[in-house]
């Protein structure tokens, strides 16, 4: 937990400037917390690349532009490639002291943007890729992605007599990215904003590709109350359904290792997308969690 803690930032150390302002995201949108905080840490001299997703849809609304920094939209699968191009272009222009960041959703990362991301990491480009994970394709009306958890009701993974919603667990994106031998990768949650700030600050100092994967609640797609967005993202970590970890120098490190997990049922019951789950479905979720933690605790501590 204390390793790299020198990157800590207190809220009062953050700039007063807001670089993501006046966007039209749903009230209580967790992804906007991730984007807003990231830009506050990265600063004004940041180039942002966004593929098609909620964060671009709610901010590039001509003539309203909610990014107060340089920002551009990439084709859906191209975030990683465009990040590389922007970083190379800025370098060619002789620019100094700038950041290049991508904000892609779970669909834009684990599914359609996967190849471009893998290529950018493989090239060793000096970029920061942030996946905000709201666990479905939200901007097109809640379709299942590779990062949708087991038992989630989406429009393409309906729940009923025969199906519990999504029948696949979340893709292990963090480990897949780490397997590239990336310079630095970390998971985060908007429920633990201070931890996210530290990881952003760390990411800023790393040369080479960095991947941050942040769980970000979506009241519209999760069927949850708007005021619960931060609490839910914290519950996910406390109940063991999400985890805070880092990867660097060929090593994984768990940042939070709960002695006892908070209630999974409590986390699920606050969200419409899980309302249909039966006891047996919840047991599948818990079993999967326990297996994952057994492995993480063996090698990531």
């Amino acid at each position: 937990m204390t390793r790299m803690s020198n990157y800590n930032i207190r809220p009062k150390d953050l700039t007063d400037q807001e670089f993501f302002y006046g966007h039209k995201a749903c009230a209580g949108c967790g992804a906007t917390i991730a984007v807003r905080l990231a830009l506050k840490v990265l600063g004004e001299r940041t180039f942002s690349v966004l593929p098609a997703n909620c964060m671009s849809a709610v901010s590039f609304i001509y003539p309203q532009m909610a990014f107060a920094t340089n920002a551009m939209i990439a084709p859906f699968p191209a975030t990683g490639a465009m990040l590389s191009g922007v970083a190379a272009g800025a370098k060619a222009l002789g620019l100094k002291d700038f950041q290049t960041v991508g904000f892609a959703g779970d669909g834009g990362t684990a599914d359609i943007g996967f190849q471009a991301l893998s290529g950018a990491i493989d090239r060793g480009d000096d970029i920061l890729y942030i996946c905000y994970d709201n666990e479905a394709y939200m901007n097109t009306g809640i379709q299942k992605s590779g990062l949708t958890p087991y038992g989630t009701k989406t429009t393409t993974s309906p729940a009923g007599e025969n199906l519990p919603g999504s029948v696949k667990h979340k893709k292990n994106m963090f480990e897949i990215v780490a397997a590239h031998g990336i310079a630095y990768a970390a998971t985060a949650s908007i429920g633990y904003p201070n931890d996210f700030l530290r990881k952003l600050n760390k990411a800023k100092s790393v040369r080479g590709p960095v991947y941050l994967h942040i769980l970000a609640s979506c009241p519209t797609g999760w069927g949850s109350k708007t005021e619960l967005s931060v609490e839910l993202a914290k519950d996910a970590v406390d109940s063991g359904l999400w985890y805070l970890a880092e990867y660097e120098n060929d090593e994984f490190k768990l940042n939070v290792n709960p002695k006892e997990f908070a209630s999974v049922e409590n986390y699920l019951s606050k969200q419409g997308r899980f309302k249909h789950l039966k006891e047996e479905d919840i047991n599948v979720i818990i079993e999967h969690r326990d297996k994952k933690w057994e492995k993480m605790r063996k090698t990531w501590l």
Partner: protein
């Protein structure tokens, strides 16, 4: 320190439009205040300036005041209620917009 809302003149003819798909950053022409049913109200007596609400506001509408409290930009607050819910000291309460004058 936030981008300000500015007046927008609707283009009359094609040449009034920008010539490329590029456009100025932080160009705000509309507010979000109308989205709210409930509005967060800060009690400065209870607020200790911990900045938790400032940290987790999705819209960035909470800012620090000189005396280490917080204030809210109601032009862009959507009334999600995260600030009130996250405040450990109950220094923020959600009040129905219509009841404001009572």
């Amino acid at each position: 320190m936030r981008p300000k809302v500015r007046a927008y003149k609707r283009p009359d003819k094609i040449s009034d439009y920008p010539s490329t798909p590029a456009f100025e950053s932080g160009h705000l022409v509309s507010k979000n205040a109308g989205w709210r049913t409930f509005k967060p109200v800060v009690d400065p007596e209870k607020c200790v300036g911990c900045l938790r609400c400032y940290l987790v506001c999705p819209d960035g509408v909470i800012s620090r005041t000189e005396d280490n409290k917080v204030e809210i930009d109601y032009d862009f607050c959507k009334g999600c209620g995260i600030c009130a819910h996250e405040c450990k000291l109950d220094a923020i309460t959600m009040k129905k917009e219509a009841d404001e004058d009572e």
